[in-house]
């Protein structure tokens, strides 16, 4: 399940309709046909607003007459299997979106084109420094960062007001507030937090100064038995005591945003922008009105918000692409500053663009605003080629299932 989560991070699901693929002919990907060549782009469902994508392609096709861009939307479900095999084919998609934690895993397979020499064209120097490491491996560049996002706490303003609780600034305030809500109404769940919300837990570990895995020479080793991890676990458990959510499930089973929150009785929960959007949509569909407020996950002290996992996506070029040069040019355009500024605008700031200069000033009181506050303390999981395996949908191998409530066996590979 984690794969989906990472993947889904930062997706502006609320604004992006499930629209048809942009492809205008049905042929299989990537083949150059007739006089014109084509560039096939695989983006994940929910990553790119349709209008923005259309704008990028229009500009690109104007620059390269006769070239067609085909956008194929992919589902996160089963994507690693699909991508792995696709990259091995003679006519793979030319440009692919990869989760930022998965990029290194694909880079070592030789499936991604080395972009080190194209740094200047891609605008490397302007990129957000926090996002770059996830696009590199052993000093070489394999992808362009695209966007990132992190979690924030979503709360029901009415319930908070009724219990007399204000958005907290520190962990202590947070817990005290939850306590207050619990006392005010026993039917209400102060915080919905399943036992396996792994990326929430990761933030707590970073808050303690620990990490998920430590590099030990060539190998990565799990570091979850460290004292830092243990105290993070204690805090996690404390929060979890305010929830009746299942202990062995993550936030996607059942989907907290659409299956849990709309049913009411949840005072607050930790989620991503698209989750908040999904919950609002579901509530409105049921004929109600959502009244959500947002605050960054509180840190230990008021001056620094809690650390958050910075999930997101990169864009890479397939090594076997038949049109590598065109693909690189498309990439430079789409991930370039101008288009990224439009992108940030199109997603209303819910996603952080790869370039700080392209950042969009989010609306006051929005999820994006709360998220932007903690962006400074965003971190990415260790960049290790084995991480993609860890995220693949499989139950307890490696770090991924070392959920906060999990057992101690793991190895970062």
């Amino acid at each position: 399940m984690k794969r989906k989560l990472v993947a889904a991070i930062g997706v502006a699901g609320m604004m992006v309709g499930i629209a048809a693929c942009g492809s205008d002919d049905g042929g299989s990907g990537g083949k150059s046909s007739g006089d014109g060549k084509s560039v096939t782009v695989w983006v994940m469902d929910g990553s790119a607003p349709d209008d923005w994508m259309a704008g990028v392609n229009k500009e690109f096709e104007a620059k390269h007459p006769g070239v067609k861009v085909k956008v194929e939307k992919q589902q996160w479900n089963g994507i690693q299997e699909k991508l792995t095999t696709a990259l091995s084919e003679d006519t793979p998609p030319d440009v692919v979106e990869l989760g930022n934690t998965q990029t290194a895993g694909y880079a070592v397979t030789g499936g991604l084109a080395d972009l080190t020499d194209d740094k200047a064209d891609l605008g490397y120097d302007g990129w957000n420094k926090g996002m770059v490491p996830a696009a590199e491996l052993d000093g070489k560049l394999y992808a362009a960062p695209w966007y990132a996002a992190s979690r924030a706490v979503v709360y029901d303003k009415k319930i908070f007001k009724k219990a007399g609780v204000k958005p907290p600034k520190t962990r202590d305030e947070w817990v005290a507030g939850l306590e207050k809500i619990k006392k005010s109404d026993s039917k209400i769940q102060p915080l919905y937090l399943p036992g396996q919300s792994w990326y929430v837990y990761a933030g707590f570990v970073w808050d303690e100064g620990g990490d998920l895995a430590a590099r030990d020479g060539e190998q990565w080793k799990g570091a979850l038995s460290s004292p830092e991890a243990a105290s993070a676990m204690n805090f996690y458990k404390k929060l979890q005591s305010f929830s009746t959510a299942p202990k062995d499930k993550d936030e996607a089973t059942p989907q907290q945003s659409t299956d849990i929150v709309p049913k009411g009785g949840v005072a607050s929960w930790i989620g991503l922008g698209w989750e908040a959007g999904g919950a609002i949509a579901a509530i409105e569909k049921a004929g109600d009105k959502a009244d959500f407020g947002y605050f960054p996950i509180p840190g230990k002290t008021a001056d620094k918000p809690g650390s958050v996992f910075l999930g997101g996506s990169n864009l890479a070029v397939a090594e076997r692409s038949q049109n590598k040069d065109l693909a690189k040019e498309w990439l430079a355009l789409a991930a370039g500053k101008d288009q990224m500024a439009k992108y940030a605008k199109a997603t209303a700031g819910a996603l952080l663009p790869n370039n700080d200069a392209a950042q969009f000033e989010p609306e006051a009181g929005s999820f994006a605003e709360a998220m932007a506050k903690s962006a400074s303390v965003g971190e990415v999981t260790p960049v290790t080629p084995g991480w993609a395996n860890v995220e693949t949908e499989q139950p307890d191998q490696g770090l991924h299932d070392e959920g906060p409530e999990g057992r101690g066996r793991q190895e970062g590979r």
Binding site: K4, L5, A7, A8, V11, G13, A20, C21, G26, G27, S28, G29, D45, G46, E72, Q75, W76, N77, G78, E81, K82, T85, A86, S88, E89, D90, A252, P254, Q255, S257, T258, D259, P262, K263, W274, G278, A282, K285, A286
Partner: protein, 289 residues
């Protein structure tokens, strides 16, 4: 349990008007019918519920039905392409399997030849083929042979998936047709082919139906192969359509269940239509081994 089997003693009695002991039997049958129907009913009723009532702390039995989920499920892009592909692949595989198996099972059931025993063994072993874990090998073969996204290849794979069972079952049927019937036709001047077509074939109807049912279900439900082999949406089938309402952003359970109900419908219709013959058929085939 024991009273069920003790009834065996007097098989004819139950043809008589209802007696007290029959009430217990009927109640048991009703309870069993409920158990078997419930998940199906739940799928179907969920497909008619609005999203908010599908998952609920206390199950919702009364609700205002909506067809919204069905409109959504069938309104998907390329829906009819998937339908066409599924039908092509399934019907193609079943038809091929029947024709090829008919010839083979006739030979096995009626002719003496060297290697017959080995062949029977091979047919049995072929049923054990672990197709799910052979996906990657099939993928490599298809990729290197430039046959990805191919409906004919998918049809061929499904055909081989159902072939062993089809041969096995049909063989039982052919063996069950008295040789004398055929001989009579031969005496009448038919050649063996004619004798087969005129005499044996008509008697195989139930067998053909039961095996095609099995093949139909197998091919109709197949998921793993088509997922990896056919990435091109134009070459995908309904099983992939079934899963597309469960995304990382939340599952549309209503649409999933509507799609499942529609997906089950052809099988159900075929089943109920063929049930009487098919069921008798399965056994005859199976029993003859």
């Amino acid at each position: 349990m024991s009273n069920v089997s003790s009834d065996l003693r007097a098989p004819r009695r139950n043809r008589r008007p209802v007696r007290p002991s029959a009430i217990g039997k009927n109640l048991l049958a009703l309870a069993l019918a409920a158990v078997f129907l419930f998940p199906v009913y739940w799928m179907f009723s969920s497909s008619l519920k609005p999203q908010s009532e599908i998952l609920s702390k206390d199950p919702v039995f009364l609700f205002t039905p909506t067809l919204g989920n069905y409109t959504k499920a069938t309104g998907v892009d390329l829906f009819w392409t998937y339908v066409l592909n599924s039908v092509t692949v399934t019907v193609g595989a079943v038809f091929l399997a029947l024709v090829v198996a008919l010839a083979a099972s006739f030979a096995i059931a009626r002719m003496k030849f060297r290697g017959r025993k080995g062949l029977v063994l091979a047919v049995m072993m072929a049923q054990m083929a672990p197709w799910e874990v052979m996906v990657i090998v099939m993928y490599l073969i298809a990729r290197d042979g430039d046959m990805l996204n191919s409906i004919p290849l998918l049809t061929a794979i499904y055909f081989v998936m159902v072939l062993p069972f089809t041969i096995w079952t049909l063989r039982g049927f052919i063996a069950a047709v008295p040789v004398e019937l055929e001989e009579a036709a031969l005496i009448d001047g038919c050649n063996r082919g004619q004798a087969f077509i005129k005499v044996v074939f008509p008697l195989l109807a139930p067998g053909l139906m039961s095996t095609s049912l099995f093949g139909f279900i197998t091919a109709w439900n197949e998921f793993a192969m088509v997922l990896i082999l056919n990435k091109d949406k134009e070459a995908q089938t309904l099983t992939l359509w079934l899963t597309q309402f469960q995304t990382a952003f939340g599952s549309d359970w209503g649409a999933t269940m509507a799609a499942s109900s529609l997906f089950a419908l052809p099988v159900l219709v075929v089943f109920l239509f063929l049930q009487r013959r098919a069921v008798g058929g399965m056994t005859a085939g199976a029993v003859k081994g």
